[in-house]
Amino acid sequence: MQKRKSSSAGSTTVAAALAVFLLAFTGITVYLFITKPWWFPKPITDVGVLIDSQFHRTLIITGVVFVLAQLGLAWVIFKYRDHGQKALYFEGNNAFEVAWTLATIVLFVGLGLYAESAWATVHFEPAQAGDLQIEVTGQQFTWNFRYAGPDGKFGMLKPAMVSASTGNPLGLDRNDPEAKDDIVTPILGVPVNREVELLIRSQDVTHSFFVRELRIKQDAVPGMIIHMHFTATETGEYDLACAELCGLGHYKMSSKLKVMTDAEFAEWLKVQVANQ
């Protein structure tokens, strides 16, 4: 069999270029995922640590598959470029099909099952009694947070009384005895190492409560009050952003989560009371 010259059909140059590109792209990607120039900020909850470890587990598995697949593609492209050989004629290999199907099922479904414990921690375990309840209200385009005050009860909210312009964005009926001592704040202040239960709601369209360091995100759906609990383990100030398209001001509907020591928190709350 006469060996064909490198015609453009099976060109060694093209095959090499494709293989090199795939190698380079794979290398750069792996490098970036190792060096992490842009990454999650450090988590400030224990569930955040769980989520990060599941992310890491997934990253390793998908990373290995990614590298093997892209390198495999590069290899077959180069090795089997047309350089005068005859192609093999086979239509498949049942043993291989069964093997890699089973392997994929075990790997993917196994990974999925493993992920459930972190989800369960966030959503299946109820909040503990005696936690600090804070109501979170999203609206176009601001967040407001309400504390129940010394009586531990949230007062009535009346839609007709909503008036952001006169300082009553939630429609709090101050005549309601339970509402008298409610504290409404523009930023979310919480004590460190104490379980906080958020009651997430919306006044108009769907928004979403998101603090990166908590690793928690929850849509604020009008017509629903959705509970979400967490315990922050580090003091500091963290960006709070809206994570569901809610209109033209979506991009600037931000606030802050301030995690404070018990003393600082008590002080902060006093200041907020004074501002009501």
Partner: protein
């Protein structure tokens, strides 16, 4: 009813005369296929133009721009561009070209039929699609402009009307109506494809001898038939909420910009999400399956080897199609939906990765041991495999609700769906275009220019979308009109994540500009491309047995008989390294040496 036994003669309609019957209201599936392709071509350039403006605004929100009233883009204008970019790309490009474009053109020919089962319905489906595009695009031109609720149009934002924001008045209504019309057109097309495939296959063409392109169009059509009805219903309900005072999606007690909404109550915003995503998830498989069929077909043809594991490929496509209806809740882990159902949706979603992985292994298996020829079509098919792996793997993160918690509604999601839909599926379209252009038009596109297009695009799309994974991991929310509203984004100081967005924008400008190369090559090919014969690629399927371009009735009254499967390449002992599906056994016997 026509069975293939009579050779489908009742589907031969006389060749049309007159310009209007030939090119405008044609009943010929080939003309209709090209019409859909051209609609997609116009739409993709429109969609890319919108994204250029988006990328500029993201990085330089205060820059003065032409074509914008007032000179500087507002956040709502950005969101309108975003909404229409998504809607036009998903519906008018990815749901048209792969299925209604190439499927319409080549399904009848690849199964040996003279036309689709219902040529008049076919013509109606195109013109209805055209009307839907016009209606949707007209949202740009009404007072207050196009809607700002995203292609997903979550309620109540999309249901409340003008009070919810600019573009939410007439613009949103036109969008909903346009989309409903599109649903009707898609249902027509799906019916046609299924009837054609079941009924009009040539003698000898059993289901398991069909090219994988036909299988892909088949499964896609079934998905379309089952999914678009749900979207149509959802659009109807949304329209009623908007104009007839109903409250399917609007709960009571809402106050928006200090105004109480007193005329709606009792509805559920989550209901829209369920309805939309019950359609929306099969929709993304509608977008990718034809590309998978093309990839298998092209890889086999230019590796000169049968598809590895044809049967497994068929089962995998059917599996993807079926499971595609079981996973919609993975778009809703954070939505307030029951967290217990999140667990179920998650396991189903991880499972759908299995048939996808099988297909990837089989593509590699098709190449292994082959004799690879690097035509432009082949390079896009190879690129498809790489992109599908990359895009598919990021899905594994999003499929787990706990990992989805930090990643939902960030650029990680944007990276994932763009790599799969906005790139891999597009590569499927490009591969199909370079592959079938000579058959459709009797001329070649320029291969060298095609390869330049490939390299620019392949490198470019990875530069655009790979960095977005990191943006998402760092917590960069999606659908933000710029980076100045939240400190960690770095928009006011042009630092941190802003730098990544800047890189992405520059990569996007270059890559999108490079698509003009494709456009010029396409048009130049139509006018003065090198002449193409009947079977320039030495391929095996039935379209390569008829002239380029084909006559009006495809097989000139002589419906072929099929004697073998679609991928008989490099059969040992044969003189040629391919055997046409319709080659007579006696002739193949004689050629054997």
């Amino acid at each position: 009813m026509v069975s293939h036994a009579d050779g489908g003669h009742e589907h031969v309609h006389a060749a049309p005369t007159g310009w209007i019957r030939k090119y405008i209201f044609s009943l010929d599936h080939k003309v209709i296929g090209i019409q859909y392709f051209l609609l997609a071509l116009v739409s993709v350039f429109l969609g890319m133009t919108l994204s250029v403006f988006m990328r500029i605004h993201l990085v330089w929100p205060n820059i003065h721009l032409p074509f914008i009233a007032g000179g500087v883009m507002t956040p709502e204008q950005y969101l309108a561009l975003l909404t229409m970019h998504g809607s036009i790309m998903v519906f008018m490009v990815l749901t048209t070209a792969p299925q209604s474009g190439f499927g319409n053109y080549f399904l009848p020919i690849q199964i040996g039929a003279a036309d689709m089962a219902f040529p008049v319905l076919n013509m109606l489906s195109f013109w209805t699609t055209f009307v839907s595009l016009v209606v949707m695009a007209s949202a740009f031109f009404v007072e207050e402009g196009a809607p700002i609720s995203g292609w997903t149009a979550y309620t109540p934002l999309s249901a409340l009307g003008k009070i919810a924001g600019p573009g939410q008045g007439g613009g949103q209504t036109l969008w909903v109506i346009g989309l409903a019309i599109f649903c009707a057109a898609s249902l027509m097309g799906a019916l046609n494809f299924i009837a054609t495939l079941i009924d009009l296959r040539a003698p000898g063409l059993s289901l398991m001898r069909m090219p994988l392109t036909c299988w892909a169009w088949f499964v896609t059509a079934i998905l379309g038939l089952l999914a678009f009805g749900v979207l149509l219903a959802a659009c109807a309900l949304l329209l009623l909420d908007r104009v007839a005072g109903t409250s399917f999606f609007i709960p009571g007690g809402l106050v928006i910009t200090d105004q109480v909404i007193s005329n709606h109550s009792g509805g559920s915003p989550l209901l829209w999400q369920h309805l939309f995503w019950f359609f929306g998830h099969p929709e993304v498989y509608i977008a990718i399956l034809p590309g998978m069929g093309v990839a298998s077909h092209v890889l086999s043809t230019f590796a000169r080897k049968p598809v590895f594991g044809y049967r497994a490929m068929v089962y995998a496509m059917c599996g993807i199609g079926f499971l595609g209806f079981c996973v919609w809740g993975h778009h809703m882990f954070i939505s307030g939906m029951s967290p217990y159902s999140a667990f179920a949706f998650s396991i189903m979603t991880m499972t759908i990765g299995v048939p996808s992985a099988i297909k990837t292994f089989n593509w590699l298996g098709t190449l292994w041991g082959g004799k690879i020829q690097f035509t432009t079509a082949m390079m896009f098919a190879l690129g498809f495999v790489s992109l599908f792996v990359t895009g598919g793997l990021s899905g594994l993160f999003l499929a787990q609700p706990s990992v989805d918690l930090p990643l939902h509604d960030t650029y990680f999601v944007v990276a994932h769906f763009h790599l799969i839909m906005g790139v891999a599926a597009i590569f499927g379209i490009f591969s199909a275009t370079y592959f079938w252009f000579p058959k459709m038009f009797g001329k070649f596109m320029n291969e060298t220019v095609g390869k330049l297009h490939f390299w620019l695009t392949f490198a470019g799309v990875y530069c655009i979308f790979m960095p977005m994974h990191f943006l998402g991991i760092a917590g960069h929310m999606r659908r933000y009109s710029d980076l100045t509203g939240v400190p960690f984004l770095g928009g006011t100081t042009h630092s941190g994540l802003w730098n990544v967005q800047y890189f992405i924008s520059v990569a996007a400008f270059i890559t999108i500009g490079g698509q003009l190369i494709f456009l010029v090559n396409f048009i130049a090919g139509l006018w003065g491309g090198k002449k193409a014969g009947m079977n320039p690629w030495n391929a095996t399927t039935l379209e390569w047995t008829i002239p380029s371009p084909p006559p009006h009735d495809n097989f000139a009254g002589q419906i072929p008989t099929v004697y073998r499967g679609a991928y008989e390449f490099s059969v040992p002992g044969e003189a040629e390294d391919f055997i046409l599906q319709s080659a007579l056994p006696s002739e193949v016997e004689r050629a054997h040496h």
